[in-house]
Symmetry: C2
Subunit: 119 residues, 2 copies
């Protein structure tokens, strides 16, 4: 699979793919004689794995430390569950903070409504 195909199949830009390569998220592809990159199918699957993980809220760094799950999912159910649970707690925590922010915003709105009615 050449670069153009991978771009097309993954929906990612060449720069994103290159960036993932540089960050070590996907392995360096082989080269053909003209130095063009040749990706194995697994890279496409890996990119899907990465996309899913991103959607779940994982950063690229976190995903990088999780690649063993992609390569041997069956072996690491427990650690997968741990990672997911941790992220779940993070997300819940963030939601809580935002709920607090919401309350404060509502309070401020009330304050200005009150002030306005006193003009």
């Amino acid at each position: 699979m050449r670069t153009a195909q991978l771009i097309q199949a993954s929906g990612l830009s060449k720069d994103t793919i290159r960036y993932y390569e540089q960050r070590g998220l996907i392995p360096e592809p082989q080269r053909s004689s003209n130095n063009y990159k040749l990706y194995p199918k697994s890279t496409l699957e890996l990119l899907d794995f990465i996309a899913t993980a991103k959607q779940l809220g994982f950063t690229l760094n976190e995903i990088k430390n999780t690649l063993h799950l992609f390569y041997d999912e069956d072996l690491y159910c427990d650690s997968a569950i741990d990672l997911l649970k941790n992220k779940l707690m993070e997300v819940s925590q963030t939601i809580k903070q935002l709920e607090t922010q919401k309350k404060q915003l509502l309070g401020e709105i009330q304050y200005f409504k009150h002030k306005k009615s006193n003009k």
Copy 2:
């Protein structure tokens, strides 16, 4: 008020204050003959205003575009309310996305639990 006092009273670092100055969030202070900065009291109040706005989720850029509220709060109740409502919607939107993320995470956890029990 000199720099040290403002740092002390605001709880911000010298670098943060300087940064706010550069960004135009607080006005350039006067200088004494030795070139030391001399802040008026209002700057401290302004820093408190900024801190509050930050807590409500506003970025420094947004805050900068909102400074007229600080300088003439009474005149702009309506626009204050608009700004707050917009931010409220933003926050609510973010919360929704995170709730979705949470559901997906729970789904993934179930998936791995299931997979594990089948080993």
